[in-house]
């Protein structure tokens, strides 16, 4: 019995163990990898995917999926850059970008709830349309020369007590999501919607509103990632965030969240995000060509997900 429980525990922490093994192995091979500054930059890189993956976790827990995050990121960032360029102070422009991202996510939510579209289709539509709108707005050209506002620089490049601001944000947002999903009524609604929406509905859960909320959150998180990128790059690109939805979904899957909804944990996603970051970073340092990197990433995801399967 104890054995069996131990095995269950092990599977619970499958992703975590995979992460630790990866760090040990890569760290053993490469001295460049195991430096504090590299870890900090690794964390900073992972925050971009992290924000998106947290939002994605909520969506997937309700039994949905959000393919539009990359395009949402691009569009909200482009609009933010445009606003700053036209003289709006960076702070308000960035807040506005977050709201725009949230609103864009809500559109997907409306298509899913009121439009009764399947989440995959609904967000495929918004993904395509938002990317198109970004291109139109930017006329296919980057927007740069955003001045040197302190806030804009601070979110992506700033440091507090020697720790990069994105990393601090990453930790804070992780804690917020943890609290939201584990401790609040909203969290219960999210899980119950994905677990059995009929039972949830009969128990008084407003399914539509819950779904709307998770897509809004997902959009907002995508916009936040966009702001970090904007700050770091100093310019908005029309193809920014292209394919980011895949890394986010991979992180969620790595973390053990069921793609059918109802089951999963946010800390799993946190670990999943780190695994992907360690792989990217580590393989780069080891000088593995980017073609091989993709193959390795795919295989690691496969192994992690297989080992996580309970039944």
């Amino acid at each position: 019995m104890n054995n069996k429980k131990a095995v269950n525990r092990l599977q619970d922490f499958g992703a975590l163990i995979a992460l630790i093994l990866l760090v040990i192995v890569i760290g053993a091979v490469s001295p460049d990898f195991r430096t504090v500054s590299n870890f900090l930059s690794l964390l900073r890189q992972s925050s971009i995917n992290g924000f998106i993956a947290f939002g994605m976790t909520c969506v997937i827990l309700t039994g949905g999926i959000d393919l539009s995050v990359g395009s949402t990121l691009a569009l909200s960032t482009a609009l933010c850059a445009g606003l700053i360029k036209s003289g709006v102070p960076a702070g308000p422009a960035m807040l506005l970008a977050l709201l725009i991202g949230t609103a864009l996510g809500m559109v997907s939510g409306v298509l899913v709830t009121k439009g009764r579209l399947q989440p995959f289709i609904a967000t495929l539509v918004t993904m395509t349309v938002y990317r198109g709108l970004t291109m139109i707005y930017m006329d296919g050209k980057p927007i740069s020369g955003l001045g040197d506002s302190f806030v804009l620089k601070f979110v992506g490049k700033g440091k507090l007590f020697g720790i990069p601001v994105p990393v601090i944000l990453f930790i804070i947002i992780f804690a917020v999501f943890m609290f939201l999903l584990e401790k609040t009524v909203f969290g219960r609604r999210v899980y119950s919607t994905g677990s059995n929406w009929k039972a949830a509905k009969l128990a008084g859960v407003n399914i539509d509103r819950t779904k709307l909320a998770v897509y809004a959150i997902s959009g907002g998180m995508a916009a936040l990632s966009g702001l970090i990128l904007l700050s770091r790059l100093g310019s908005a690109q029309p193809n920014l965030g292209d394919g980011y939805e895949l890394d986010a979904i991979a992180a969620v899957a790595l973390g053990g969240t069921s793609m059918n909804g109802g089951r999963g944990r946010i800390w799993g996603t946190f670990v999943g995000v780190l695994i992907i970051a360690v792989l990217n970073n580590g393989l780069n340092i080891l000088g593995v060509s980017s073609y091989y990197q993709e193959v390795v990433k795919g295989i690691v995801i496969l192994i992690a997900v297989l080992s996580d399967r309970k039944r």
């Binding site: 069996k4 429980k5 609040t184 899980y191 677990s195 059995n196 509905k201 009969l202 407003n206 109802g262």
Partner: protein, 494 residues
């Protein structure tokens, strides 16, 4: 076929569920397997048919020790199991469901639809049910789905047929047809294991009875040598007295009124009222529209017209959430599809309908939640390892108790119960009746849909009979009996 199971042990994650259980099934008999919810009846049968593997013990079939590795193997040996929980694919048609995995193929390897249809129609005719083979499973009522499961088992040439609460979702007339079919099978020498919590059925149908308690074998008796009290005593180790506890009913003013409720093609012009502290029984045949009427009142049916009044004020139940806010509670008949999150714990399931109660400013109060759930488990005697027990792994009757526990703490003014004791053992039934009475005594108006006539008669102050979407009559407690309810339910008039 003769089956002997001896000294069967089984535990799940360190918790012993069967402790030296067993029984002896003879050729051509109907053998009842009885015991409380969670006694291990279904588990024992799952071990026989290779769904689970036993930890210890022997299974002997026709004098030879066997150990089926999976249900297919058991089926090949002629042992067919109709499970307690429906195993249907809702998006497929009746015919596709019945032939799943054993499709008839023509020479080219293509499915022979015509042959399969014919076969399906033949079996369904034998059961006397009118269901078209190409109907979608999801369009059928729970009772009809159950009939399909039975039909599926009849298609196989079984020598042993295990029926785990086959009548839980059926009404009187379907039950009678089923009994006829079962008796005919017995005549042909088929042995039948019959699991049910309905005492009347056991005594009408079965030849012998084996009792399990807490996973252990207690005794086997010939039906002729025993009676209900004796069986109950063996099942729960004590007597329970009156089956329907008396209620000192103080029926108050009219609190709930439904006027002209109509849903085109489903039910029409349904009007009735319920008083404070009253239990209104709702009887009718399967598919009469009772569930749909209740779903409509709870705001879970589209295209419904009519008015609903609570305390004399009109209320709008746009969706279940509004209905709950308005003070209505609803216990659904289908625990698997609408009642429970099967993959979640007892705790999360009970909490779901009580989120407002156990939270402050949207944050769940862990202690309040655990206390509430613990109270539910205690009050309803839910047999589980702990609060985190996954509902999938509860016995059927205990799942039903979880659904019940979910609702009794929401403090509704009107509580609608759709088949509240389906699959619940006799002791727990009485506990549920007692809770119903307590709620009524507090002034809650209760509407209880039930297909078990003795239950409707035993519990209700008035009985409303529904047939084909119309209210055919409301009987007072004094004038109601089995006969006149059946007359109204089947199309006669009094």
């Amino acid at each position: 076929m003769q089956i002997e199971m001896r000294g069967i042990d089984k535990s799940f994650g360190g918790n012993a569920v069967l402790k030296s259980a067993g029984f002896l099934l003879d050729h051509g008999e109907i053998h009842a397997l009885m015991g409380e919810n969670g006694a291990g009846k279904s588990t024992l049968m799952k071990i026989l048919t290779g769904v689970y593997t036993k930890d210890a013990g022997t299974v002997i079939v026709n004098g030879q020790e066997v150990c089926y590795k999976n249900p297919q193997e058991a089926e090949k040996a002629g042992i067919v199991f109709i499970h307690q929980e429906l195993n249907v694919l809702f998006d497929l048609t009746v015919e596709e469901n019945m032939f799943l995995g054993k499709e008839i193929r023509s020479r080219l390897g293509v499915c022979d639809k015509k042959a399969m249809r014919a076969e399906v129609s033949k079996v369904l005719d034998r059961l006397g049910v009118k269901i078209a083979p190409d109907q979608k499973m999801s369009e059928l009522s729970v009772g009809q789905q159950q009939m399909i499961e039975i039909a599926k088992a009849l298609m196989v040439d079984a020598q042993v047929l295990i029926m785990d609460e086959p009548t839980a979702a059926l009404t009187q007339s379907e039950t009678e047809v089923l009994f006829q079919v079962v008796k005919n099978l017995r005549k042909k020498g088929v042995s039948i294991v019959y699991i049910s919590h309905r005492m009347e059925e056991i005594f009408e149908l079965c030849d012998r009875i084996t009792i399990l308690r807490d996973g252990s074998y207690i005794d086997t008796k010939r039906i002729a040598d025993t009676d209900m009290n004796d069986v109950v005593k063996m099942m729960i180790g004590r007597e329970i007295g009156e089956r329907y506890p008396a209620r000192d009913c103080r029926i108050g003013k009219t609190i709930f009124q439904v006027k002209g409720l109509t849903c085109p093609g489903v039910f029409k012009d349904v009007s009735f009222e319920v008083h404070e502290g009253e239990v209104l029984g709702v009887a009718g045949l399967m598919g009469a529209g009772r569930t749909e009427i209740m779903q409509a009142i709870f705001g879970n049916m589209p295209h419904v017209t009519g008015t609903i009044l609570l305390d004399g004020k009109e209320i709008q139940n746009k969706d279940p959430r509004e209905a709950m806010k308005n003070g209505i509670g609803f216990i659904t008949e289908d625990r698997k599809v609408e009642g429970l999150m099967l993959e979640e714990s007892i705790r999360k399931n009970i909490a779901l309908a009580n989120l407002g109660r156990i939270s402050k400013n949207g944050v769940i109060q862990k202690k309040a939640e655990q206390d509430l759930v613990q109270e539910g488990i205690r009050e309803l005697h839910i047999k589980c390892f702990n609060q985190e027990h996954e509902c999938n792994n509860l016995s059927g009757g205990n799942q039903q108790k979880v659904v019940f526990a979910k609702w009794i703490y929401t403090e509704p003014k009107v509580l609608i119960l759709d088949e509240p004791t389906r699959g619940v053992d006799i002791g727990a039934k009485k506990e549920i009746y007692t809770i119903i009475n307590e709620l009524a005594a507090k002034g809650v108006a209760i509407i209880m849909v039930s297909s078990e006539l003795p239950e409707v008669l035993g519990m209700s102050d008035r009985i409303m009979v529904v047939r084909e979407g119309l209210v055919r009559g409301v009987l007072n407690k004094e004038e109601a009996n089995q006969e006149n309810i059946m007359i109204l339910a089947t199309g006669g008039s009094l």
